[in-house]
Symmetry: C2
Subunit: 330 residues, 2 copies
């Protein structure tokens, strides 16, 4: 997006799945880019420096590090945090520390030292818990069950509160299920869909729980990045929350079949639901994307098939400089 050329952009959590793809685009759009992440190694820092990208190894639970990082930024993408419902239940206090205190640290730093900065925060469909009505609009009641969903709602409320009381330029995009090009994953449950693509590429078994009829709204990461970038430069987005997805629902098993078909490898096996997974299952979800279309003029460009195709091409092709510079991470 041409508006980002020369803009001072700071991405917290720039080495996460969403962060990497966003930074990749910002790099090619010519942004003056800073990446803040816990997992930045000396090698990554050096590699990124060669690309004129500032890399900060830092922890959002440390207020001083946040304050130092944000001083010059014009736009912040507040993407750092722990991911996944399962992980949140396994470590409730750490989840609160990172996704609660950490997020609040960034807002407090902005309030005290950089009130004009724009801040974009990613919420999650898991804030809704079990939904009553599809597709899900922004004002649908939120009854998150997992601590991950609860803490994402907490983060959203922080961003809106700092808008309300201090006039900070914050906005929130609640994403459905993103997938697409990604670095090596530490744990499959962070993103089952990406894990399935990896399994298919390895010609392995894709295990689907039960009949796999649960509906999800899978969105290609390129569309996610478009939405983040659109929100980052829009004044109309300030103080607003948007549900973001493809707007199309697909049964999990059908999506798995598309993966196997597009990749041309792998096979599906249906097994019974493990108890923990069943407890975490929140039922069907499709995002109502009327509001973001109207206010930001954003809309998804990828179908499930074209998104998976693009992901597979990406895995097979030679990596460009930006991705190559991060390969050290894994």
């Amino acid at each position: 997006m041409k508006e980002y050329k020369g803009k001072k952009v700071l991405v917290f959590g720039g080495l996460g799945f969403m962060g990497v793809n966003l930074c990749h685009r910002l790099f090619f759009d010519g942004a003056n880019l800073s990446i803040f992440d816990l997992n930045i190694t000396d090698t990554i820092q050096k590699n990124l420096k060669d690309l004129n990208i500032r890399a900060i190894r830092g922890d959002i639970t440390n207020g001083d590090e946040c304050t130092k990082a944000i001083a010059e930024a014009e736009i912040i993408f507040n993407l750092a945090g722990r991911s996944g419902a399962t992980a949140s239940m396994e470590n409730p206090f750490l989840d609160l520390k990172v996704n609660g205190f950490g997020v609040l640290n960034i807002l407090e730093a902005a309030r005290l030292h950089n009130q004009k900065v724009k801040i974009v925060f990613p919420g999650s469909r898991l804030q809704f818990g079990k939904v009553e009505k599809l597709p899900v609009a922004e004002d649908h009641p939120m009854r998150p069950t997992s601590l991950y969903g609860i803490h994402k709602l907490l983060g959203e409320n922080y961003h809106l509160s700092y808008r309300h009381f201090y006039g900070l330029n914050t906005c929130v995009l609640r994403f459905s299920n993103p997938y697409g090009p990604h670095l090596k994953m530490k744990k499959p449950e962070y993103n089952v869909f990406n894990y399935f693509i990896d399994l298919a590429l390895q010609n392995s078994v894709l295990k689907v729980y039960g009949d796999g009829s649960q509906i999800r709204d899978y969105i290609f990461i390129g569309d996610v990045v478009d939405a983040l970038l659109a929100a980052g430069i829009s004044k109309a987005a300030n103080g607003e929350v948007f549900n973001v997805g493809s707007g199309v629902g697909t049964a999990f098993i059908e999506a798995a079949k598309v993966i196997v078909k597009v990749v041309g490898k792998g096979r599906i096996e249906q097994i019974s639901w493990p108890k923990q997974a069943q407890n975490l299952e929140t039922g069907d979800y499709i995002a109502d994307i009327t509001k973001i279309k109207k206010v930001l003029g954003w809309e998804p460009k990828y179908s499930l098939t074209s998104g998976i195709e693009k992901t597979v091409v990406w895995v097979k092709q030679k990596k460009d400089d930006f991705y190559a510079s991060l390969e050290e991470q894994s």
Copy 2:
């Protein structure tokens, strides 16, 4: 309530406004009572021991202290926490620590060491933020603005999540504006209505912001205690949330007039809104109490006039043993 006779009841925050009034009743109902509070002094501990009440000086942000305290309890009232919207904005991190981590500590302790215990948690009308429709039912959207409201919602979600995943016997009562007999207040903004009663008794000026037309739902603390006790012994309450108030709306200035009339002293002065207070103002509120009436058979017994009368009588009369034992606190 006769069901509490001999029951092992633990009240976190037992020296707070709600806690004192609840413990007072539990003491006279013959409960086997333990009070956990940060502000328990040696004198209070000794005084309470003479009444056969176990007093624990402890901090809910300390997980070990919570674990130790809950071991034997049959019913927990999870009332400890920081109070008030203003205080929460002044100290956001401390508010999260106490009202987030602290509350989670108690639930984790119960999950690991006392899964059968009943836990009652007080939510707040401030979870709703500005409301769209009066009276406010349980499923009204929640858009809290103050950090206090945000963290109360966080605490509610924790209690419901631990019900969902672990089957803990939790329930939540979202209270409107309670008033009534109270120990000396540290800060007037914790409870403006009680502060006004004190001012009137001192024949002082009651300062009302603007035209004082904002509607509140004032509920006498005796009714609040009845609701807490009813929830504590009800199986039907488990996993449920209830809005609790008098169900009657009163303009702030009208309520102030009732205070002056009942007390027979004090006078009202109208001044313009300070900016901070105006930002915190959430608009009109009246609780829809249909659900709690139906499920718990609870209903308020006090009108605004009779509640204020009872408060004034309480201030003037000689204190009973229970209250006298806490006088050391102030």
